[in-house]
């Protein structure tokens, strides 16, 4: 029998539909895989009873030919999505015990289409991080072993604080690890500066950050509202297209959500890319960039050329300012959004004699170090006397960054090709302990896309010299995810489907 957990989402969907397999079998296989993979720490809550109940309901609908597009397919949900009566904490201690009385629109759309929820996935606290190390539930291990490690050494490290193991990236580290380790067919994730795309790159899977407004933000725990966007992590470009189709769509509960109908993204997978124009931006060639990233990028351009696309050099002159501007805009919005965690309405509450002390003690105890740091930066840049120098200036630079992209697209470029990350995955505990900026540099290629509200797709494209996955990023015009799926499929086909690591974790 084929291992049910190694099917792609598309394959599983087709077999469920033809009733070659049942959702109950499929769901049980994944719940067993999750049990064996406890050591990775990808899931922070497993909803086994709910999953089995949903699977039985799916099987009934499949039997009555009333199946939805994702009927019976078990998936994982990032802990940042409100799921009614189910653990939702954005992996923060301050939301201790929180169970929302409502459902996020994105997850409601997935259940409407028949998907089965396996549980909630680990993440950096409030999505602030690039390695999943800021989670109040501890770090997640990547299913990729460090170079030259034996499975036995990996298992030993899982049992002792995960020291030396690789991070799956962040903030959607649990989602990426779970998808790459085949604990779920696909997962929801979210991306404010690269939190879908960098973990996809680190774990050899596909991630899509859609255009701002393509998915509703209703019921997503807010980090930076003008940058946050929901998106999928999956093992193939086709699977990501299937997931996004279900997740996206108009929603009256989010005024920034686009009313435009959702195209059939899967139909774009395999569509010819002949005569498309692909821009390669010179500003993404960083000083000191490694040869292997340079080579991967050139290889990607060559693959697209071989498929009939035209590759042209383009310039996005304000690229170097995107990351610094992001570290003003995102903390500023976070400081405003996270003001709601006050110890009064939900979550943690520290005893205090007056209400100000109640806020201060609760927030000191409930937020982790990275979140506290960003909230303080955000508070500072918005405070009287500094607003114009920092926040207003950053928002003007954002306009310039967006204008760079608009010029390139107006010149006839259909999509832009860049590396996804400056390096392959790094080790747990390796980065950012001295200077937080060291960790922030992970997002140097992805953050521009959030600043300009554009769609970005990351697909695996090769390996580092040490045998770890590396990926390329495609950036598209607003609401033109379809072009990214066509080009992403070309990269995937040219590179060959990524072979994910064999199970060593238990």
């Amino acid at each position: 029998m084929t291992d049910l957990t190694s099917l792609t989402l598309a394959e599983a969907r087709d077999r469920l539909k033809s009733r070659a397999i049942s959702s109950l079998e499929m769901t049980r296989a994944h719940l067993e895989a999750i049990e064996r993979a406890r050591g990775l720490n990808a899931f922070v809550a497993v909803t086994a009873d709910k999953a089995l109940e949903m699977a039985r309901a799916s099987d009934a609908r499949l039997g009555k030919k009333e199946a939805g597009p994702l009927e019976g397919a078990p998936i994982g949900v990032k802990d940042l999505y409100a799921t009614e009566a189910v653990h939702t904490q954005a992996c923060s201690h301050i939301l201790q015990g929180f169970k929302p009385p409502y459902e996020s629109t994105v997850t409601a759309n997935l259940w409407r289409d028949g998907a089965v929820m396996l549980g909630k996935l680990n993440m950096d606290e409030f999505a602030m991080g690039s390695s999943n190390e800021t989670s109040c539930y501890g770090p997640v291990a990547s299913p990729w072993l460090p170079p030259n490690w034996s499975p036995a050494r990996g298992r030993e490290a899982l049992g002792s604080g995960k020291r030396g193991l690789l991070t799956p990236g962040g903030s959607s580290g649990g989602s990426a690890s779970a998808v790459a380790a085949r604990l779920c067919l696909a997962a929801t994730a979210s991306d404010t500066g690269g939190s879908i795309r960098q973990p996809a790159a680190f774990t050899g899977i596909v991630g899509v950050k859609p255009t701002y407004g393509r998915c509703s933000r209703y019921g997503m725990v807010a980090f930076a509202s003008s940058l946050d966007q929901a998106g999928p992590l999956a093992r193939t470009v086709r699977d990501a297209a299937i997931m996004l189709k279900a997740m996206a769509g108009p929603d009256a509960k989010d005024s920034t959500c686009s009313p435009a109908p959702v195209p059939d993204y899967e139909a774009a997978v395999g569509r010819s890319v002949k005569d498309m124009t692909i821009g390669v931006p010179k500003e993404y060639r960083l000083d000191g960039m490694s040869d292997e990233i340079e080579r991967l990028w050139a290889q990607g351009a060559e693959w697209l050329r071989a498929a009939g696309a035209r590759v042209v050099d383009v310039s996005l002159p304000h690229t170097p300012y995107a990351l610094p501007a992001y570290y003003i805009v995102a903390p500023a919005e976070a400081s405003s959004n996270l003001a709601r965690y006050d110890g009064v309405r939900y979550g943690l509450r520290e005893p205090a004699s007056d209400v100000i002390e109640l806020y201060q003690k609760t927030r000191a105890k409930g937020f982790g170090a990275e979140v506290r740091r960003r909230l303080m930066i955000g508070t500072y840049v918005l405070s009287a006397g500094y607003y114009d120098a920092y926040y207003l200036r950053a928002q003007k630079i954002r306009t310039l960054i967006k204008r760079d992209f608009e010029r390139v697209f107006a010149d006839g470029v259909d999509a832009i090709l860049t590396p996804a990350t400056p390096s392959a995955a790094f080790g747990i505990g390796e980065k950012g302990s001295e200077n937080p900026v060291e960790m922030y540099l992970n997002d140097v290629f992805t953050v521009t896309v959030n600043m300009a509200g554009l769609p970005g797709l990351v697909a695996p494209a090769g390996f580092s010299g040490e045998g770890l996955p590396l990926a390329l990023q495609l950036i598209g015009r607003p609401f033109d995810e379809e072009t990214l799926f066509s080009l992403g499929e070309t990269i995937e086909q040219s590179a060959g489907r990524m072979t994910l690591p064999e199970r060593w974790w238990g």
Binding site: S255, P324, A325, I377, L392, Q395, L400, P436
Partner: protein, 95 residues
């Protein structure tokens, strides 16, 4: 620009996060590292540039001015650490 220890204490108070004296110098170093990083933006000429207010140009939708939901006090209070008689309870605010 950089912040001194007093500024760190003031920011912590504005953010309503209790910070111990022992933590303050460490936080100061980290905040200054980030402020140093964002100094790069000073090199950009932003004269006459409009600040971004909406990342995707779209009209905010209007809806009818009617009540669409409500009467869910028990749901609103369900996660409260302390509530009484349909209210959130906080330490005494006025004498």
């Amino acid at each position: 620009m950089s912040v001194d220890l007093n500024a760190v204490r003031r920011i912590a108070h504005l953010a309503r996060i209790e910070v111990s004296e022992a933590e303050t110098p460490h936080l100061q170093r980290e905040i200054n590292a980030i402020l140093k990083f964002v100094e790069a933006l000073d090199a950009v000429n932003v004269d006459g540039v409009q600040p971004m207010t909406s990342v995707i140009p779209m009209r905010l939708p209007m809806r009818e001015d009617i009540v669409t939901d409500g009467d869910i006090a028990s749901k609103v209070l369900a996660n409260a650490p302390r509530s009484e008689d349909g209210f959130f309870v906080v330490p005494k605010v006025i004498e």
